[in-house]
Structure formats: C-alpha cells, structure tokens
C-alpha cells in the first residue's frame, strides 16, 4: 500500500484529506507544519507528499527545498489556495501544482497519475 504524507495546517482539511485518501486505498499521515513534516520524512518512507504552501513557520516551498536536499525522487504535489506561487520557480521542485477546490477529484487524479509513473 502506498504511503502519502499530507502537510496541511488547517486541521479540518487535514482530517478531510486523511479520510478521503484512505478511502482511495492509501496509507495517510497528516502533519500540520513543515518541521513535523521534515521529522517524518527523515524517519519514514513515503511514496508521495502533498503539501500546502502557506503555513505557520516554514512555508511549503522551503519544505520542498529541504526535502529535495535529502532525496530528489519522491513525487510532491503542491496543494494551495494561491495562484501566485506559480511565479516562484522554486515550485518546480514539485511535480504538480493544484489549486484547492471544494472537489478533491483533481488532487486524487494527480496522486494516482504520479504514483503510477514512479
């Protein structure tokens, strides 16, 4: 079973993603900030990471850069409310950039696609 790390500071959304992605058949771990995410990535194996950008403390872009410093092959999806980060080329470290919406279909599709590729 593929294991996904979700980094999302809004607790309700974290719960939603956990439930919905578990239903899709993945093992899901939810953390609420970048530091917690780094701790997990260092100690566990994940097949894919979904992360928000705007978070208290370190933001998602820094998180992605740090993860890339450790291992480059893990697929990353940026999942954010903002368009504007597309201007920041650092986001290219991720494999997809999804704008949050009330339907999780796009996110689920992308996860499936990226996990199939790897």
């Amino acid at each position: 079973m593929k294991k996904i790390l979700v980094v999302e500071d809004e607790k309700m959304l974290g719960l939603l993603y956990e439930e919905e992605l578990t239903k899709e058949g993945y093992e899901v771990v939810v953390v609420h900030d970048a530091d917690a995410a780094m701790d997990r990535v260092k100690s566990e194996q994940f097949d894919l990471i979904v992360t928000d950008i705007r978070m208290p403390g370190k933001d998602g872009i820094e998180l992605i850069a740090s993860i890339m410093g450790m291992r480059k092959d893990i697929p990353i999806i940026i999942n954010t409310a903002y368009q504007s980060y597309k201007d920041d080329f650092m986001t290219w470290a991720a494999d997809a950039y999804i704008i949050k919406s009330s339907s999780l279909d796009e996110l689920k599709e992308k996860i499936k696609e990226l996990l199939q590729e790897s």
Binding site: I64, A65, D87, F89, W92, A93, Y97
Partner: protein, 347 residues
Amino acid sequence: MPELRKDMVTGRWVILSTERSKRPDDFRPPESFGVKKESLSFCPFCPGNESKTPPEVYSVRDDHTGPNQPGWKIRVVPNKFPALQPGPPSTKKLRGVNQWMEGTGVHEVIIETPDHSQEMADLELEHLAELIRVFRLRTIEIEEQYHHQYIQIFKNKGKEAGASLFHPHSQLIATPIVPKRIKEEIYGAERLFRNNFRECAFCRMLNEEMSSSERLVYRNERFVVLAPFASRFPFEMAIYPLEHSAFFRQITDEESRHLAEALKQALSRLKAQLSDPAFNLVVHHSPNPKVSNKAWPGIDSYYHWHIELMPILTKVAGFELGTGFYINPVPPELAADYLRKKLRIKS
C-alpha cells in the same frame, strides 16, 4: 535647481534633481545588501535536476549527451506551471491576454549556465555570445510557429527585481499584444521619422552621443553602451547596435559576439561599481514581422532595437511621479563617468 529633460522618442519627461553633489559612497548600498547567502538546499535549474523541469525545447550541450540530462551549457525549458493551463476553450467570453493564455501560452525559461553562481556578467564571452544566439533562435522559431504579436525577452536578477531563483536565468514570453512601452517607442520613432528627421531618430541620437561622448560608458565596433540623455532611473543604461536595425532577430553571429562584449562590459561595471545590484534587463525590439508589417509598415526604417538595463538601487532611488514623469537624482553624465572608470574585467 532641477533640470527638465525630455526623451524625444517616448515623450517622457524626467526631472534631474542635481542639488547634492554625489560622492561615490552615496551610490554604494550598505555592506549587507546584495550579499545573498543562499540557504536553499535545492535548485531546479542546476545540472542533475533536469527531471524537475519540463522537457527542454532547446539546448546547447556537449556532443555525446542527450536531452534532459547533464552536459548542457544553455538550456531552454517551458514554464512548468503556467498561470492558466492550455486547454479547451471555455464557454465564457475571453478577451485579450486571457484568450491567449487559454490557447498557446508560450513562456520559456532560458537557464543561462549550469553554474549556479556564475552571473551573466561573469560568463565567458563565447558563452554569452552563444546565449544571445539562443535568444535569437527562439525568437525566430516562436515567431514563425505562432502568431503572437510580440516576444518579450527579459532578465530579472535579484529578489528586488522579482527574480524568484538565484540560478542565472532569463525569460521569453510571447504575448498577443505589444507592450505599452514598446508601442510608445514605435509611435514616437515613427513620428520623428516622418515629421522631423527623415531618418531613424535613434541613429541620429547615436551619432550625437558618439560625438559628445559624455554619456558613453563603452563602445566597440558594433555596439555602444550609454546612459540615456533622459534617464529615468539612476545608472540606467542602454545598449544599441551602431548599425540600424529594427529586428533583434536579424543579429548576425559576429554581431552577437560584439553584443556579448558590450553586455559583459555593462554588467561587469554595474556589478563592480554598484556592489552587484539587482536589475531588470529588457530587449526592446520590433513586433513579430508577420504582424508588424501590417500594423506598422516600414517599421524597419524608423525603429531601432536595443537593450535597456535598469539597476535597482535603494540608496539613490529615482521615482515615478505618475506615468510619464520621473525624478532621477543622478544625472546620466555623472552615471556614465562613474561607470566608465577603468576596471579589470575577467574575460
């Protein structure tokens, strides 16, 4: 006593305020400024990370290497996350830029060198000339393939200029409309050509600048770097081909080498004399000839392509007082004099 100057082509007014006599120190930003300590542990543009960029559309690389792997000297890739994904048109009525974005949004990033910290100013001349050739080739290819009105070629360096990554890169965007500033230049040049000079206004200006030389920063056989008479911003520079041409795409290989030299001179001096400031660099050239021939017939007679280089300084800043009026505390003659100082430049 402020001095008023008018840019004859664009009609822009500049107020040069020359009250204080400037000491060289006034131009240097404080020590901590510009010293960028990069704490980021990853760069998507560096060699080894080719899989993080979209597949390259062009590259200059070592013979035995294939696309999307290390061994490249210059690499051109499309924007990975364009603002709007190209896709089927929606039922909403879209206009102008949105329509373009819905269709084929051409936005390319040119990664200038595999070396993460090697600035454009420090590139080998041959490499810089090669880079210019890449700009030309991409311009031609995109203009032939698509019907966009204009190809914007530009480079932002430094956070203050809007660059989000440290690794040296430039961008190329095809737009469905001609940017306002370019339009102003084209209209202004055309008016001067028709009503006043009967020759290219820029050529005329260049002749005058060469004879007076008080605003000259550097020149070689084919190109000249000068501080414009009506500079809007402190230490603003422009690079002009001495031979008249409206189309950047027409630059020859030999001219590319001379342009590389001029560009390197301009950038190196900026870097050395003003402590490596952030800057915006933009190519001003004619719109897509397929389009401009109808909209501006005869543009090749009166428009003259050039590069504008605008450093972003904080200690001596100019500002814009509503569109069309600028206040600049550093007269271009002073700027040129400061930038002309003898430097030992690695070539």
